[in-house]
Symmetry: C2
Amino acid sequence: MLEFKALPTGCAERRRSNACDVCGARALSVCASIADEDLARLDSIAERQSLVTGDTLIRADDPARHVFNITSGSIRVYKLLADGRRQITGFLFAGDFLGLATGDTYAFSAEAMEQVTVCRFRKTEYRTLIRETPALESALLTRAHHELLAAQNQILLLGRKTALERVATFLLDLPSHDPARPSPQGHIHLPMTRGESADYLGLTIETVSRTLTRLKTQGVIRLVSLTEIQIEKPDALLALAEGNG
Amino acid sequence: MLEFKALPTGCAERRRSNACDVCGARALSVCASIADEDLARLDSIAERQSLVTGDTLIRADDPARHVFNITSGSIRVYKLLADGRRQITGFLFAGDFLGLATGDTYAFSAEAMEQVTVCRFRKTEYRTLIRETPALESALLTRAHHELLAAQNQILLLGRKTALERVATFLLDLPSHDPARPSPQGHIHLPMTRGESADYLGLTIETVSRTLTRLKTQGVIRLVSLTEIQIEKPDALLALAEGNG
DNA sequence: CGCAGCCTTGACCATTATCAACGCTGGTGG
DNA sequence: CCACCAGCGTTGATAATGGTCAAGGCTGCG
C-alpha cells in the first residue's frame, strides 16, 4: 500500500512538465492541492495493481466496481463498435484517474500500453472518502473540466479537421501529455503505434503514415525513428494544425 | 433575482424527462441534491439575463468572467476554425451549466437557438460559493462526469461512424436532451436546422438531408414536418446507430 | 404575390478508405 | 551466428463515402 506514494511523485513530475495544451496553464495533477492526511486516507483504501503491455485494466460493460489512479506507465482508453471499429478516446499517464464516471458498468475499455502500475479503490469507499474530502472533490472537478475541454478539442478535430490538420494537431498536443517524459525543444516521442494514432485520430494506419511522410517531404518534421520525431518548422506545423497553411 | 427559482423548476422538468442516453438512469439536474439554503445563496449572487434567437451568450477567447445556468430555452455551443468551419460540440437546455471550465478565456462560443433565459454568476463569487457548498460541488462533479461520457460517445460517432450511423444515433439521442419537451413514443422534435445538425454530426447539410431521405425511403422514419420526425422502426434505427443493419 | 431562407435533389469531384505488395526490424530457433 | 518469421510501417493502385457546386422546390412573411 505504501506504493501509493507514487502518486505524489507522479504529480511532481507532472508539475515539471510542459505547459498544458488545453488551458495554457501548467498542468496540475489532482494531488497538488491535497493535504498529507487526506493522501494518507486515500492510501489506506488503495490496492496496488501491476500490468504488462496489452493487459486489460477495464473492459467495457463490466460492472464498474473500481476507480483507478495511474502511478506509472501509459494507458489507452477506447470504445468499440459491434464490427470491431475502434475509437481511442484518450491516452492516460501517471497521475490520471479512470473510472470515476457514474453508471454501474464501464462505458469504455482500457489497456496498458506498456508496463503500468495503478492504485485501485473500491468505488463505494472512494465515494465516501470524496464526500468527506472537499479538497479532493474540488481537485477532481477541476480535472474533469480540463478533460472536458480536451474532449471538445478532439470533437472539433474529428468533426471538422482534415487528415493533415489532425496529424499536425496531434504532434503539437502530444508532448504535454506524458508527465514522465517532458520533451525537449521540438522533440516528440510517439509512445503509440501507427494503428493507435490512427484510431485516436479517426483515420486509418495508411493515412497516418502517408501524412507523416508528407510532413517529412515538406520539411516540417524529421522522422528520427519510428517513435521519435523532430519538429523542424514549428510555425508551419502550428499553421497546419489550425487549418491555415 | 427571484427568477433564479426557475432553476429548480427546470430540474423538476428534467426529472420527469426520458431516461438518460448516457448512463441509462433518469437524468438528474444539479439542483436535485441541493438544499434550499444553498439555493438561496446561489440566488443571492445571480443576475438574470435574457436572450433572443441568435444572440451570443459566450464568445470564444473573451475573458471568462461568468458562469451561466440556463433556466429556459436552448443553446448551441461550438468552436470555429480560422476559415469558418464550425463544429457544434453540444446543445444545452434548461438546467445545464456553461463556462465552468478553468482558464481565463472561454474556449468556445455559445448562442441562443431560441428565446433563452439564464442566470449569470461572477466566476470569482461562484468559486467561493462552490468551495463552501460541498453538495453543489458534488453535484457539479457528477454532471461533469456525465458530460464526459457524452463527449466520448460523440468522439466515437465522429471518429468511426458513417453518415447513416451518425444520423441514426442523433435521432435516438435527441429526445433525452431537452427536459422541457419530453417526447412521446417514438416522436422526435428537431429544434435545430439541418445546418446545425450537420455541424454537430461532422457532416454537411446535404449529407444530413440525403440521409434523412434515405431513412424515410427505407421506412425507418417518417418526416412529419421539417422539425418533427416519427420513428416507424425503432429496432432498425437502433441497429443502424450501433453499426449493424 | 414575390422574395428570402431553408431544404432537397442531382451531377460531379476529392479526400480518405480499402486492398495489396513490399521493406524493415527484432526476436527466436536451428 | 545467421536465417527466418512475425509484426509493424510504407507505398501504390483503386474504390467509395461524403463533399462541392448547382438548380429547383417549399414555406412563411412582408
